[in-house]
Each structure stands twice: as structure tokens, then as C-alpha cells.
Amino acid sequence: MLRDRVTGLAVVVLGVAYWGAASALPRPLLQQDVGPEVFPRLIAGGLMLLGALLAAGPLLRRLAGWPAAPRVAEAGLEGPADVPAIVAVLVGLALYTAFYERLGFVLSTVLFMAVEIAALEVDRKRWIWAVPVVILLPVLLYLLFDKLLGVKLPTGLLG
């Protein structure tokens, strides 16, 4: 598979870069037998080997008789992805993060949830039912973290 070949090569490149970075680590003054670079180098070697195995996969698998592990069904992984929905979640999260501290937790969360539910809920009649959740969940979470757990969340504009 082309995707596996590209991924495999990327893993090899990562392994080589990591090996390089490990070798460039400053040695401790006291010469030890095993410095901070040895273990990372083992990992780097592993990455290079495994990346190569993945890239050369189909061929090697046939030669070595390597088995494909039995399929374990996982919910949600069937069928082609709904790309606009994925983009809506990722872009939404990025904007949410960017405005998290400026707008404050409660306000940014209400906006974020409203946008995501509007984007993902096909049945528009259901939007109205989501309103209490969109308003209550952020407020309850704020109270839980701020009052009960003593964790400060950003107050932003409402602060």
C-alpha cells in the first residue's frame, strides 16, 4: 500500500533524525559507561528498522509469512470519513484554544459547544433540546473545578 510505504519512510527519517539528535547530546563531564544518548539510540534503531519493515511490508510479509493480527471490531471506524465534520471539529478546537483565555472558560465553551452541535447535528429540530446542555455544562464544570477542586479556570471577559 502506498500510504504504508510513505509512512514507513517517514518513520525511518524520524529515526535517523532522532539518532542524530541523540548523538549530539552533550556528554556528562564524568565519563560514564552509559550516557544519556544510549537508550535513545536504541529507540532510534528500532524506528529505522520498523519503518523499513513497514515500507517494504507486502513483499517482506509474503517472504516471512508475517501474519496480519486478527481484526478487532472498533466502533466508528467503518466507512469513509466525513471530512467536513472532521474539519469542523479540528478548526473548532483550534479557535476554542486560541480564545480560551481571552474569552474565559464559560463564554468560550458555550460558543464552542453551540458551534460543534450545530455543525454535527443533522436534525435541526434537535438544536433547541441542546440549549440547556450548552449553557449548563460549562457553568457546572466551572463550579466543579473552581469551587470544589480548587483549580483556576480563565474567567476572561466575565471575570
Partner: protein, 507 residues
């Protein structure tokens, strides 16, 4: 052995305080609710709980998280039986006979055999844990750094071999986890691989990839299918209970499933899912009516449901005694132990027996709570299957974000989580499992410490891992574990292909 008895008594006296009973209750309840909700697994829930338990005392936090873990194992069966949607991969097998039973109007019996089976299994496997853990701890205490290094490697290779569809991809995931683990201060106090970023000076907090890969990953998985998924409405009327005949037919599968599930759970890498598949195959082989399997055989629900719950107690054995988790969920529990400043392993039994025994006792109490809770409340839980998936996804995204932010109070972590979420989603689509990465990240520090201690003892030579007999034997098991998919698929094929001959050898 008299200290064993006093430990058990101490454990129960701590677990039975009103506050801890409350945490066990909340844990079981939340776990069951989550298990019932399709699409959110126990890994995600336990990961999301970590920031909340941060300020609690360790015993209470661990009791809460363990409750969620086995509560979710139980809850998954409800959705499998009624909606034919496994809430967890360990509940896939339950759909095979559970859903046909529901269609025949026997949903009550299926739910009841799952609930009672879970109780029997949870109780028996907790007893197994009580008996096996101290014994193993007393053996493990003689292990040196070479043995520990090899053991951790075994934990990693076993999870990689059993947890995914491709061993190579799982091992790549594992190496990435190790790589992430090396970011930050090394044991000599030198900063490594932090790109000069202050935020990475102390390394990547495991909660960030855990929430990113599991919680965000699952939310993205859901989002990918949400707009074209068929929504179905479910209802359950009647009573969840068994007739005398059904009870009689369930008893042996419960007991067999419990023993099998516990033993499989102890093995590294082989968790609840594999335990339930094995139990199903075994019940079909032993049955006098193998032709009923797949069409609503109660044994096909009773056995696997007992097995997947029993595997939780089994999985606690290597986690508590060796500090080696066997799955994504137990890896996160290990991270939680470390967050509380507790290092699981044989010394934990000497230093913090109160925490361990209280946790074990609470599992025992929690199982009884689940039984009392679940049979009467089942109609209430069923309503949850109707929760709108869009609302659920939005809520999971918010909970993930707030959890990560609460840990260190900086948006840098949120960006990192988002990166892991996106990576996790695309990686899962390409069949790279997340569990080996988290496991490797959590274990990296102690693995490298043991590696460096062992090689210092041998003046820098790597042969120490092969010349110490126990370490060499464990390394041989590592190699064997990488070939275990062969063995597993062979066993499953045998279980599926020869039901008739199985009937003759049956009890």
C-alpha cells in the same frame, strides 16, 4: 498469612468509610453510564478523570478510577444486547447472542445473566487478585534492574502484538511513545530533546497524549460517522431476571468465564476483549447445543460477560505487583499512581499496603454495588442510548480540554493535545493503535533507569540482559509474544471451525 488477613481487614476498614464508599459508588455509576453510551470507552473515561482526581487523596482517587474501569466493563453489555452496538471492544462478543436474545423478547434474561455474571466474575477475580498479588510481589522483590527492564519490554511487546491489526505498526507506535518519554530532563538532570522550549523542560505530561489520542481520538472517530449514522430508538420493558432454567444454564459459564478471564487478564497484553472471545469459543465447544450459538444462546452471553469483567481483576495483578500495565486503561491507571507519588511494584506492598488493600477491597464492594444498582436501574440506563451523539461529542471535547488545562493551567498544553488528537485520528484510520504509545510513554522513565543501572553493573555491556537467566527467559517471552497473533488466530479458527467435535468432548 496472618498479615494477609490483617491486610484484608485493614483494606475493608478503609474502603468502607462513608467517603470511600461514596467514591466507589460514583465510580461504578459513572463507569456504567459511560459503558452504556456507545462510542466512549473506559480508557477515555479514566483519562478524563485524572485531572479531577488530582487534588484527592490517592486512595479515594484510585478507588474512583477503578470503579469507572469495571463499571464500564459491565455497562458495555447493555448497549450490545439492546442495540447491537458494542460500547467497548470487549463487548463485541456479547452482541452475537445477546442481541438475538433481545429480538426474541428475552432481553431481560440477557441483561440479568450479564449483570449476575459480572458480579460473580468481579468477586472471584478480586479474590484471585488478593491471593496472587502478594505472592507475585514477594517473588518480584528479588528482581534486579536487568529483570525489570526485560519485564517492561515484555509488557510493551505483548500489548503491541495483541492490541492492533499490524504488529509492525503497533511497535512503531510503541517506539514513538518511548521517544516522547525521553523528552525532558534525563536521570542525570540534563535536558534532552526539548527544542529549547521551557514547556517541554520536564517532558511531556502523559495526560496530554492520553487525552489527545484516546478522548479526542474517539470524539473524532464519532464525528467522522455521526452525520450519516442511523439513529435507532430503544426501549426496554419488563424485568431483568432469570428463570430457574436460565439460571442453571448460566452458572457453569459464569464460573468458567471468571477463571478464564482472570488468567487472561494477568497475561500482559491480553485484556478483556481477548478474554471474551476465548470464553465464547470455549462455551460453544463445551455446549451440547452449539447450533444455538449466534441465535440467542444464554451461555454465549453469560461466559464472555463474566470473562471480560474477571479480566479487570487479573489485569490489576501485574499492574500492582510489577508496575507493568497490560492495556491502555491500566497504563493510565499506572500514570495516576505515579501522579500520586506511588510507584506500583513489589515495594508498594510494603510501603503503602493501606492504599493497595483499600483499592482491592473497594473493588469487591463495588461489584456488589453494581449488581444492586444495575438490575433495578436498567431502564434508566437504557434511556442514555438515546443521547444525541452530537451533544456527546461536544461534551467529550470540552471535558478533554478542561482536563488538560486544569493540570498545568497553560494553553500550550491544549495545542499539544490538539496535535495528538489529530495525529491519533489519522493514525487510527491507518491502523496504528494508541495503547502501545501511552504504555511506552508511561514506562519510559523507569525503563531507561533500569536499563542504565543494569548496563552500569555490566560495565556498559548489553549482554547482561541475556546472561541473567530470568531476564533472558523474559526476553524469550518478548519474542514469543510478537508471534502470538499466529497462536491467537489459530485458537479462534479452531473455536469457530469445530463446533460439532466440541460437542462430543463437552461436559
Amino acid at each position: 498469612m496472618e498479615s494477609f488477613a490483617s491486610n484484608v481487614v485493614t483494606g475493608f476498614s478503609i474502603a468502607a468509610t462513608p467517603a470511600n464508599l461514596g467514591y466507589a459508588f460514583i465510580g461504578c455509576l459513572v463507569g456504567t453510564l459511560i459503558g452504556v453510551l456507545p462510542g466512549i470507552g473506559s480508557v477515555t473515561t479514566v483519562a478524563l478523570l485524572i485531572p479531577i482526581t488530582f487534588g484527592m487523596n490517592p486512595t479515594a482517587g484510585l478507588i474512583l478510577m477503578a470503579g469507572v474501569y469495571y463499571g464500564a466493563m459491565y455497562g458495555g453489555s447493555t448497549t450490545s444486547i439492546l442495540a447491537n452496538i458494542p460500547g467497548e471492544s470487549s463487548a463485541v462478543v456479547t452482541t452475537l447472542d445477546g442481541h438475538p436474545m433481545a429480538k426474541q423478547g428475552r432481553a431481560g434474561a440477557a441483561l440479568a445473566t450479564a449483570a449476575i455474571g459480572s458480579f460473580v466474575a468481579g468477586t472471584l477475580s478480586t479474590v484471585g487478585l488478593m491471593l496472587l498479588a502478594p505472592t507475585l510481589a514477594s517473588v518480584a522483590i528479588r528482581f534486579g534492574p536487568a529483570e525489570y527492564f526485560s519485564l517492561m519490554l515484555l509488557g510493551l511487546t505483548a500489548v503491541s502484538a495483541l492490541g492492533g491489526r499490524s504488529v509492525v505498526k503497533a511497535l512503531i507506535s510503541m517506539c514513538l511513545g518511548l521517544l516522547l518519554g525521553t523528552v525532558g530532563l534525563d536521570m542525570g538532570g540534563f535536558p534532552r530533546f526539548n527544542f529549547g522550549l521551557v514547556e517541554l523542560y520536564e517532558g511531556v505530561d502523559f495526560i496530554i497524549p492520553a487525552i489527545g489520542l484516546f478522548a479526542l481520538g474517539e470524539a473524532l472517530d464519532q464525528a467522522a460517522v455521526i452525520r450519516r449514522s442511523q439513529l435507532t430508538h430503544f426501549d426496554f420493558r419488563g424485568r431483568a431476571w432469570l428463570t430457574r432454567e436460565e439460571f442453571r444454564r448460566s452458572t457453569a459459564p459464569w464460573l468458567r468465564g471468571s477463571v478464564l478471564g482472570f488468567l487472561v487478564g494477568v497475561l500482559p497484553g491480553a485484556g478483556a476483549t481477548i478474554a471474551s472471545f476465548f470464553s465464547y469459543a470455549m462455551e460453544r465447544r463445551l455446549s451440547r447445543h452449539p447450533e444455538q450459538f449466534g441465535k440467542g444462546a444464554i451461555e454465549g452471553v453469560a461466559g464472555p460477560e463474566a470473562a471480560n469483567n474477571a479480566s479487570v481483576g487479573g489485569a490489576m495483578v501485574p499492574l500492582l505487583t510489577l508496575g507493568i500495565p497490560g492495556s491502555g486503561t491500566t497504563a493510565i491507571l499506572l500514570g495516576a499512581f505515579m501522579m500520586f507519588g506511588l510507584q506500583p511494584g513489589p515495594l508498594l506492598f510494603q510501603r503503602n499496603p493501606d492504599v493497595i488493600w483499600a483499592l482491592i477491597a473497594s473493588m469487591y464492594i463495588g461489584n456488589a454495588m453494581l449488581l444492586v444498582l444495575n438490575l433495578p436501574l436498567i431502564r434508566l440506563f437504557v434511556k442514555l442510548i438515546d443521547v444525541r451523539p452530537a451533544v456527546l461529542v461536544a461534551a467529550v471535547l470540552v471535558l478533554s480540554t478542561v482536563g488538560v488545562y486544569a493540570t498545568n493551567g497553560r494553553t500550550f498544553d491544549l495545542w499539544l493535545t490538539l496535535g495528538f488528537g489529530a495525529l491519533g485520528y489519522f493514525a487510527r484510520r491507518a491502523d496504528f493503535p494508541a495503547a502501545p504509545l501511552i504504555l511506552a510513554l508511561v514506562l519510559e522513565r523507569s525503563m531507561e533507569e533500569n536499563f542504565r543501572r543494569a548496563t552500569t553493573l555490566s560495565d556498559g555491556s548489553l549482554t547482561i540482559f541475556l546472561t541473567r537467566p530470568i531476564s533472558a527467559a523474559i526476553l524469550a517471552l518478548c519474542v514469543l509474544s510478537l508471534f502470538s497473533p499466529y497462536i491467537q488466530s489459530w485458537l479462534l479458527r479452531r473455536g469457530n471451525a469445530r463446533p460439532e467435535s466440541g460437542a462430543r468432548t463437552g461436559t
